[in-house]
Every structure is written in C-alpha cells, then in structure tokens.
C-alpha cells in the first residue's frame, strides 16, 4: 500500500490575532460614526442561495456581493446591541483561548440584561451574522458547535497531538473494531497517512455500521465516513483536507430522495447558501454521487415509498433555484425523473435482495462503472 505523508495544509484563514483586530476595526468604525453623530451600520453578506454563484472550475458556491446593511435605528437597536455584545464576547474568547458552544453562548447572554436572547436560534443567528461579517469560521471566533463531526473507519492514520504534552498521536482507523474514529470539531491541525484509494461518504449510520462490520474498507481499500445526515462543517472540512492532502476521490452514498441529493450531497460538494462565505473551505469539489440514484430504483428493482409533498417541493426548488442543479443537466434529469416517478428510496432498501447484497453486488457493480456517477 502506498503511503503518503501528510503535508500541513496552510489554512487560508486569518489567524487568531487578526480576528481580534478585525473585531476592533469594525468596532472602531462604529465608535467613530457614533461620535460624529452619524448612525453606524454593519454590512453582512446575504446568506442564502440567491447570493451564491456556482463556480464549476473552483468547484464550490462562491458568495456574490449582495449585502444587507444593518443600520442602527430605533427598530434595529436591540439586534445591533446584541451583535456588538456577541463580538465583544468573541474577542474575549479568542484572547483567553477559550471556547463556548452555541448553547453556552446563549446562556452567557443571560447576563446581558435587556439584550439577552430569549431563545437559542436568536443567538445562533447573531453568531452566524458575526461569522459572516468577518468571513471566518465560527470556531475562529471561539464558538463551537454542539454536534460531533462524523465517524471514520478504514485505511487511514490520523495524526493528532496530545493537548498537554504536544506529543504526536497516531490514530489508526483500522483498529476501532466495530467502532469508529470520531472527527473532532477542529480538524485544521490534523495530519493524514493513507494507502486508500477513495473515500466513501455514507449518509446513514446503519449503512455505515454494516460496511464497518464486514470491513468493506479492506475489500475496497477505502476510508468510510459516516455523515449522519447533513454533514457538519468539521466533517466536510475533514473530508476536504483528507481528499486534498492525499489526492483521494470521494464517493457519496445517500438515500435516493431530494434531501439526500440537495441537502446532503450538494452541501458536501459545493457548500450551502447559509454558510456562503465559508464554502471555499467547507466544500469537497472532488465528490461524486454514487447512489442511490433514481435510475437504481428500476435497475435494482428496489422497494420505494411515495414522495412526500415536502420532497416534491424540495426537488422543484432545487430545479428552480439551486445554482448547482441548474448547472448540471444530469442532475436536472435525475430530479425530474424522481418527481415523475413520485417515489423515494432508502439506502437500506437494498436489503430486500439480501442483507449483504450492498457489499457483494451493489457497490462492486457501481465501482466498476464510476463514469456513470452523477457529478
């Protein structure tokens, strides 16, 4: 097995110090405007699909220039104050090298008297605004998500360091037995060694379990990653860094429904509208869609469920508004076919032909014809 040593990828992101500087620059500008008796404003990039453009060459959704301006008026004074307090809190976190989960940040705001948040979604939104304002990842602001990053098993050694001693830790992902390596929240410092041929990203934990149990990674010489639904930023970043670093191909295996196509696969590959300012770092342009495709339904004679109204809407939305789908006629055809068939199919439907049909027949057949993978 060819082993390649990890090179440290230089993260094209501001360092901790410049984050503080950025916060201070913005605050200074507000401060000066106030003293000049002008109403200050903050300009946030609009975070939605309408403000991204698909760059096929770069391979991700790039943010367009659209910005929303939050001018300090009577109506916005509360949110404005909250945004500033969130910035102050972030500065404090970065300076003291501490972190706060989104929920912890929400609880910290309970000390802010009138500007406290009533519900966590409010504080999350303000946090995402601040993140977009400085075009940084929230981890750089000291905020971390609650959810874990995803599971990894297979032909991979992750190189991490002991928090206290700095000693190098080599984590062999083949040696977790029926368990798996858990992707940490921050993946920037990790190094990789692998002889694997590709990465297989899997939507459901159930399918991941089956492939781990039967050591599919050994048979196919690959790395298995469990996405657990829509992949977290850490998971996306992990796959991206690993694939870049080790020049690996990435195949995605999800349920055959619009959610699997657009929310999971598309987000993993090119990013999302909501984190448009970060897609550059959180996309995996080398990803290809293995299945389950609408074509598989007839090809493999799979049991289905009717599409729900929300699925149909999602598919139609994607056809109309998703720049990625609009760029790829293959995806348009696939989605239109799915709408026409009116059904969806789950990964585990393959079990109809026998529990290990997926390992013995489906995946090998798919892998034999990689050219047919959807873009």
């Amino acid at each position: 097995m060819p082993r390649r040593t990890a090179k440290k990828t230089a993260a094209a992101k501001p360092t901790a110090e410049t984050v503080v500087e950025q916060i201070q620059t913005e605050a200074k500008q507000i401060y000066n405007k106030i003293l000049r008796k002008r109403t200050p404003s903050l300009k946030f990039p609009v975070r939605s699909l309408s403000n991204v453009i698909y760059q096929p060459r770069k391979g991700y959704f790039q943010i367009k220039g659209k910005k929303k301006e939050r001018t300090l008026t009577v109506g916005t004074v509360k949110t404005f104050a909250q945004t500033l307090r969130m910035m102050a809190f972030s500065k404090e976190l970065v300076e003291t090298d501490d972190i706060a989960t989104k929920r912890e940040a929400y609880y910290v705001s309970k000390n802010w008297e009138e500007t406290r948040f009533n519900e966590q979604p409010e504080s999350d939104a303000v946090m995402e605004d601040v993140e977009a304002l400085f075009r940084v990842n929230r981890e750089q602001l000291g905020f971390i998500p609650e959810e874990k990053g995803g599971d990894v098993a297979g032909q991979l050694t992750v190189i991490d360091h002991d928090r206290e001693t700095g000693e190098e830790l080599r984590i062999d992902c083949t040696r977790f037995g029926s368990g798996a390596y858990s992707i940490p929240i921050s993946v920037e410092g990790l190094g990789f060694e692998t002889g694997a041929e590709f990465i297989l990203a899997i939507e459901t934990a159930g399918m991941f379990q089956r492939l781990v149990k039967h050591a599919y990674w050994r048979t196919a010489n690959c790395i298995l990653v469990s996405l657990g639904g829509v992949p977290t930023r850490a998971c996306r970043r992990f796959i991206r860094r690993l694939a870049d670093d080790q020049k690996l191909l990435v195949y995605v295996f999800v349920d055959g429904d619009p959610y699997g196509y657009s929310n999971i696969y598309r987000t993993l590959k090119v990013g999302s509208g909501n984190a448009a300012h970060l897609n550059e770092f959180f996309c995996v342009p080398q990803a290809r869609f293995l299945g389950v495709t609408p074509y598989d339904i007839t090809e493999y004679d799979l049991p289905t469920h009717p599409l729900k109204a929300v699925d149909v809407k999602r598919a139609k939305d994607a056809l109309k508004n998703d720049p990625f789908v609009r760029h790829h006629t293959q995806w348009q055809e696939a989605l239109q076919l799915q709408i026409k068939m009116g059904v969806r199919v789950e990964q585990q439907a393959l079990a109809k032909h026998g529990l290990n049909y997926v390992i013995d027949e489906y995946l090998p057949q798919k892998m034999a014809n990689r050219e047919a993978f959807l873009p």
Binding site: I34, K37, T39, L72, T73, L84, R85, A88, T115
Partner: protein, 532 residues
Amino acid sequence: MRESAAMTSKKAKPRRRATAQSMAAKQRDISVSEFFTKNRHLLGFDSPTKALLTSIKEAVDNSLDACEEAGILPDLDVEIQEVGENRYRVIVTDNGPGIVKSQIPRIFGKLLYGSKFHRLRQSRGQQGIGISAAGMYGQLTTAKPIVIESRVSRRKPAHRYELVIDTLRNKPVIKRELEVEWEAAHGTRVEIEMEAVYKRGRHGVETYLRQTALANPHVEVRFLAPGEEEPLISARSSNDLPEEAMEIKPHPYGVEVGLLMRMLKESKARRLRSFFQAEFSRVGPTLATRIVEGAELQVQTSPRRVSTEAAERLVQSIRQTRIPSPPTDCLSPIGADRILASLEQQIDAELFVAVTRSPTVYRGNPFQVEVGLAYGGNLPVDDLITLYRFANRVPLLYQQGACAIHRSTLSTNWKSYGLQQGRGALPSGPMLLMAHVASVWVPFTSESKEAVAGYDEIIRELKLALQEVGRKLAQHIRKDRRRQDAARKRAYIEQYIPHIGIALKDILDLSGAQESKVVDTLSDTLSRSRKM
C-alpha cells in the same frame, strides 16, 4: 262607538252618575297656584334635592337678568343654611337694580307675573313662574313666608317683605312689611325656607354655580354651603357685560293659529296690513299685502273681524311667502374668546377650543350655538367626557338624555377626532365639553327648562359647532400621539443603547467617560431620527 253603546244598553241600562247641572256646580277656575301644588314636578320641584337647586337657580336667573338689563356687573352671594333635619334656608343676594317697592309682592307672590313673557328677547327667565314657585314650594313644605329685601337707590330705604301666596286665588298676602338697613346702594335679597336635601355632586348646587360661572364669565359668585365657614368663590374672568340683547317682535314663521288669533284680538292696529307691519319683524307693506291677499282677505279688514278659518288661511299664506330671516342682533352669545378665558380659568387642561356659530333661525326664532372644549391635563382619562349644557347661559343639570345638545354630541363621530366612543354613548377621554344655545325663545321640552327640544335646525347648528371643535381636537390628539410615540421610542432606545456602550468599551478598552459619551451621543442621534 255608538253601536257598542247600543249593545251594552241592551244588557243593562247604565245608571246615570251625574247630570250636566251637577257637573256644572263643580266646574270653576283652576288657580295656577293650585295647579302648581299638584304638578310641582313640571316646574322642577319633584324631589327635595332638586327643589333646593331649582329655587337657587330661579333666584340666580332673576338676579343675573336684572343686573344685565341694568348694566351692572353681577356680584352674587348664595348661602344655604341648615335649619333642621331636611330643612334649609336659601339666601340669594345680588347687587342688581333692586325692585320697586310696590312690585315686590306681585313678583314674588304671584305666579305668571313678570316682564319677560311678553317680549321676545334673550333672557334666562321666560314665563314668570320661577321664583314665586320656589316661594310657594317653601310655603307648602314649611308654612314659612318668602322674605324679600330690596333697595333701588341710595336715596330710598331698603324694604323687607314677608309674603305668602294665596294659592287659591294666586295672590300675594303680605305678612310683614318694614324698612331695613341695606349697605349697598341697590340690590335684592331673597330668602326661602324649605324642606330639602343638600347634596354635592353632578346635580349639586356647587356644580350648578360653577357651571353658571363658566357660562357667565362676567359674574362673581360666592357660595357658602351648609356647615362651611368660608365661601367658595368663582371670580369673574371678564369685566365686560354681555352685549345687551335687543328685544324683537315675533317672526311670522314662528306663528301658529292660536297665537295669531290672540295677537289679532289684542292688536291696536286697525287694518290687517298695518297689523302685520306693526306686530311682526321683517314684514313691510309689500309683504303684508302679499300675506293678506294670499289668504284672500282684504288689507283694510279689521284684525278683530278675522275668523278662525281666515286666520288659518293667513298662517298658510305666511308659510307660502318668502320672508327674510329675523334680525339676529337680539342675541347675546358668550363669545368664543370669553368661553376660552372662562375654561382656562376654571379647568386644568392642555387644549382649549371654542366656537361661536353665526346666528340662524328655527321656526322664526333667532338662535345661536356655541361650543367650548377643554382636553387633557387633569381631566379623567378613562371616564366618559363631561358635557355641560347651557340655554341662555343657564346650566341644564337634569334630563340630559332628552336634550338636543346631548343628542347632537352622541351623533357626532368622535372616533374620527381621536376619542373612543361606544355605540349610542358619549365619547370617553379627558375632555370637558360645553354647549350653549342662545335664543329669544329657547324651546324647552318642559316648563322645568331642563332640556332643549330637538329642532332640526338647532341640532344641525350644534353638530356643525361640535365638528368644528372636534377637528381642532383631532389635530391636538395627533400631535399628542406623536409626542407619546417619541417618548416611547426614547424609552425603548435607552434600554439598549447602554449595551452598545458596554460592548464598544469591552472591544476597544474605552474609558468610562468615552463610554458615556458614546451612549449620550447615540441616544441623541437616534431620538432625533424619524425612522422607527
């Protein structure tokens, strides 16, 4: 009727109860005084509380009318003394011209005696019932005489009379008569003892006197309530007497057959044409001829010879003739300026508005409407508004629901002027409204003069005046709302701005002084901005 009578007669012949002769034996004059004793409610003496108020009202009306006619700025002293359980002595003293000795008994001791009934002129009293009725009420409930003291000039002594009314014959009976000391050069003092109940509140004497002062800014009233040491003083807010009201002749449009017949019989005119010219306002020779000929009568006919049937034709003819409106200089409104001054002196409010409409005519009677409004300040916010009604400057305290002023106020849409108003109710809000109807003959719904009758013309004028003050009110309320919005805005801003200060201080390591400068400057900038 006849048939049914016939049918009953078949059953049993009804026994004859009385004959025309026996009935004739019982038929005789009803003395007005006797009529009063049985119908005192018609004159406002139906309850002990109301009787007290009505008595004072009648005395005050007379005093003010007399003072104004004589060109004297009225000073009134009203005193109520408690002399026993449910027994009070009412004393009203004025600085008026006084009453000639010989007239005193008839004015106070005979009902329907006075100077005002026979002329068309704006005055408070009209029929000459009031004060003698009060005296009679006192006499009926306490058997005490009414006591009058009066002096007409420095050169003459003051006289004191103690009178009772012979209720059967409607005649004064003088119990005592003597000369007394009187400090001032002229004036009159009336004292009546009566069974009564003294109450404060909406229908109380104090309310009545306050309202009197409001509508009569040239009057000074001192009121000594029972058990009080010091009198309550309503000082005058104007030193000008109201314009003297001119006396006018009736206008033909206000005349009905009965009245016309009486005028025809009583007139000194020898011919119908001169009768119309002499007895009516706005009728010259041409119009007089047109009226008479329109009734197919001769202009030379003697007025005394006109039959009832011909009189009816004359009334018809009058209706069909275009006659100019009566002169309106006979009216003496309070005046918008004086209403304003009066309201400002008596009411603690923010906004004062007053309107005096031009005079106009109902049924040949000139009348004029005025409305004053006070809003905000100390007036109660959650209650219905206070409505003060006046007729010829006299406050109307009872029968609000029957009054044209009340009805006009209800049917005005106050919601569009920024007040709340329930269906069929007065609006609510911190407002006091006063409306005044002045006329040579105010049409009251009853002899107790408590409510103005709802002639279309009067209601229309009232509504126009109310709408006029309403529009001013709406302007004010809008401005007020804007001010309140600004205050709310400021309070809202001031909740959050300190946090912008805190955040900037944390981020930029500001000093305390810099932080408060940020907060102050920003508060100022934001509260100036119009954006919400």
